[in-house]
């Protein structure tokens, strides 16, 4: 006790001192770094910010691209981001990937902000929430960083180009067609989605609902849209809940790779295996065993690596000033050939591929 009392005064002084030092350190470096950021920022963005597209401009040397996936540890995103990496490296750029550990609405914001500070040429993002990330992306754009959304769009005024897997309308309608064929256009169906805010899933679901209003589907009834938050455990529980709540359920559409794999895992061990039809968007590697054991008849997906690859080339073209993101501009996309920017800055990869017992072994992703 005695010893603890004596350092009280010095300790107070010491703490004040250390704090002053810390504040001073933070304060003093602020000035020189802000001046250096000014000059550095200007030189990197000057070539690309000229406003007019020059389709023949050479690829910018040493281009640095930061990729921000929805979350880390999502196999689909991993494949997609590797595609982006491949494209970026093909044109001689450097690629960095930074993502949040969960797919919450605002978890990408700090990463966008920190990435902005490191002044890359471009940020490629799959948005968890179109609006939550928008202010941070606009700040990045204001500093001359090109923003490309891929796979899941962000607010259109917060990005230049959006790489869409396939037309959202086509995906949504085709999922319903696929399930309709499997259940004979009859019975209760449910949707197991990702997060409630997920832009892409919500757009597809909108078109699914629209497709279901057609007379052909008058005997199919959508009873519930459940959200598994792209979390394996939660998606598994949601599947369980759906089946308990709707004993007459005929089919489930899960337009997310995490959801369909979790639902497949549940169904493959349940008495409803093969009776409740499961379809949606999944990767062949995750779904192979469920297709082979009869849990799943058919599902579909585009090639996520190609989505990323297309995104990588669009980014390079944008950074190099070959495109500005305006409708009608074209750019070269490596092995995918020449691609065109559509309305709203959207570039569409193409129609999804259907996977079933017959063809699944031809795919490895």
């Amino acid at each position: 006790m005695r010893k603890s009392r004596t350092p009280r005064g010095p300790a107070a002084v010491g703490s004040a001192l250390v704090l002053t030092l810390a504040v001073a350190a933070c304060g003093s470096t602020k000035n020189d770094s802000s001046t250096s950021s000014g000059s550095g920022g200007a030189s990197t963005s000057a070539s690309a910010d000229t406003g007019k597209a020059n389709p023949n401009a050479p690829y910018k040397k040493g281009m640095k691209v930061v990729q921000i996936p929805k979350q880390l540890g999502n196999p689909y995103e991993d494949i997609e981001d590797n595609g982006t990496k491949k494209a970026v490296e093909e044109v001689g750029g450097t690629f960095v990937r930074k993502g949040p550990t969960d797919a919450g609405a605002s978890t990408q914001v700090p990463i966008i902000q920190s990435s902005t500070q490191t002044k890359p040429d471009a940020i490629v993002i799959a948005g968890n929430d179109p609006d939550a990330v928008a202010p941070a992306l606009k700040q990045a754009a204001a500093r001359g960083i090109k923003v490309v959304a891929q796979d899941s769009d962000v607010a259109p005024d917060a990005r230049k180009v959006f790489i869409n897997q396939a037309s959202s309308e086509e995906i949504g309608r085709d999922e319903v067609r696929l399930l309709g064929q499997q259940i004979g256009y009859k019975g209760q169906i449910a949707i197991l989605s990702a997060t409630a805010n997920a832009t892409n899933q919500n757009t597809w679901i909108k078109f699914m609902k629209d497709e279901l209003t057609k007379p052909k589907y008058k005997d199919m009834k959508l009873v519930k849209v459940a959200y598994g938050d792209d979390d394996d455990q939660k998606s598994f529980q949601q599947t369980q809940g759906l089946i308990q709540a709707y004993p007459k359920l005929a089919g489930i559409i899960s337009p997310t790779t995490v959801g369909i794999a979790a639902a497949g895992r549940y169904l493959s061990k349940s008495p409803q295996k093969g009776k409740i039809k499961l379809t949606g968007l999944g990767t062949p590697n995750q779904m192979r065993k469920f297709v082979k054991d009869g849990t799943v008849e058919a599902f579909e997906l585009w090639n996520p690596a190609d989505v990323g690859y297309l995104g990588g080339y669009a980014t390079a073209a944008l950074v190099s000033g070959q495109i500005t993101g305006a409708e009608g501009e074209t750019f070269k996309a490596g092995h995918l050939g020449t691609r065109k920017i559509g309305a709203n800055g959207e570039v569409i990869l193409g129609p999804p591929t259907r996977f079933n017992k017959a063809n699944i072994d031809k795919f490895d992703f």
Binding site: S4, S15, P100, T101, A105, D131, Y227
Partner: protein, 371 residues
């Protein structure tokens, strides 16, 4: 607490004296220990500055402060009343769910066409009511706050989904969202942090410079003694839970405007980071000790570490969780080890016999006891 065990003869006297003047004699030694704890945190902040700058030349910039502090806004706000709750030897784990419920209520009312100016106070009141619910269960039914607030953690989050479902509302007026996202009058300090600073001063005054604040320490140090000395223990605790809920309600408004997104699932898991910040700030998880200043320093440290790790091109975000967890354990373990070391030393010195003490008011008591 453990030092009482070693010196049991003076135990009753010490606690009686503590109850009488609201500041146990042990508290003076505790204050010194806390000061040292704050120095340690300040030192760690310095280390973070050095390491952060080594990770990225962008670390020591106003940009880092702006964005790093903005990310912690809501956690920082909720840490203030939580510090008081923990000083009173209780805990509130429902804060992040109250934040979510507040966000959901905000979305609902906005859909009903109410203006933000009216919605914000309503959300704060809703938060306060949630806090009152926690407080009543703890004080009137005598339930442990850990169990109660784990229950309401699930309950309030569930209610949030009942209110707004899976929808998210994003069409808040841009002048408000800009305000929540923007900086204060041309400086690099975010508006939300200015709000935090104002509240931090208010909570610091409340805890350290008012009779109410003293009574929080008394309740946390020894609830029974506080009760016997005439403090309205239940009312004090209830007030603290209401404060905690109300500030979480406010944080729900702030995060919804800052992200331009109100939804039932916002802020999931924030309670852990908030508890980490408070405990790291030197607030004893067993109650009776802590300062708002320490909590502010701990927030700076956490923010600095998060910023440094997100600035790195190669460090995965998972490390933020690992480092935060390690710091939390360290902050509980650290004082414990110091305490044990001190006990061991006092044992040793006692067996050697006490050296002649210098005369001073502080030394009076031990001398009497030794005699």
């Amino acid at each position: 607490m453990p030092d009482l065990a070693t010196s049991s003869p003076r135990d009753p006297a010490a606690s009686a004296a503590g109850a009488a003047d609201g500041a146990p004699p042990r508290g003076r030694g505790g204050a010194a220990a806390l000061l040292r704890w704050e120095v340690l945190i300040a030192g760690l902040i310095l280390v973070t500055c050095v390491v952060g700058q080594a990770i990225s030349s962008q670390f020591l910039t106003t940009d880092s402060f702006t964005t790093g502090s903005l990310d912690l806004s809501e956690i920082a706000l909720m840490a203030l009343p939580l510090a008081l709750v923990i000083v009173a030897a209780e805990i509130d784990l429902s804060i992040a769910s109250v934040l979510g419920l507040s966000s959901a209520v905000m979305a609902y009312l906005w859909n009903q066409g109410l203006p933000i100016e009216l919605i914000a106070p309503i959300c704060i009141v809703v938060g306060g009511l949630c806090g009152a619910f926690n407080g009543l269960l703890v004080t009137r039914l005598g339930l442990p706050s850990l169990a109660v607030t784990i229950g309401t953690l699930a309950l309030f989050r569930g209610l949030a989904f009942v209110v707004i479902g899976d929808a998210s509302i994003t069409d808040f007026p841009t002048d408000w969202t800009d305000r929540a996202f923007g900086n204060f009058a041309g400086t690099f300090v975010p508006n939300t942090i200015v709000l935090f600073a104002v509240l931090a001063v208010a909570f610091a005054v409340l805890l350290h410079a008012t009779p109410f604040g003293r009574s929080i320490f008394a309740v946390g140090a020894n609830e029974e003694a506080a009760w016997f000395s005439g403090l309205r223990v239940k009312r004090i605790k209830l007030t603290l839970f209401i404060l905690s809920g109300a500030v979480a309600g406010l944080a729900g408004v702030v995060i919804s405007l800052r992200n331009s997104t109100a939804a039932a699932n916002v802020g999931t898991g924030f309670e852990l980071t908030t508890v980490a910040a408070v405990v790291l700030g030197g607030v004893s998880i067993f109650g009776g000790r802590g300062t708002i200043g320490g909590v502010v320093l701990a927030l700076l440290l956490l923010g600095g570490i998060q910023k440094a790790l997100t600035l790195s091109d190669s460090i995965s975000s998972y490390w933020i969780q690992i480092v935060t967890g390690a710091l939390l354990i360290g902050s509980v373990l650290g004082p414990n080890l110091v305490q044990r070391a001190r006990e061991a030393r006092s044992h040793a010195s006692r067996s050697r016999g006490s050296w002649p003490p210098r005369l001073g008011p502080d030394q009076a008591r031990p001398l009497e006891e030794d005699a």
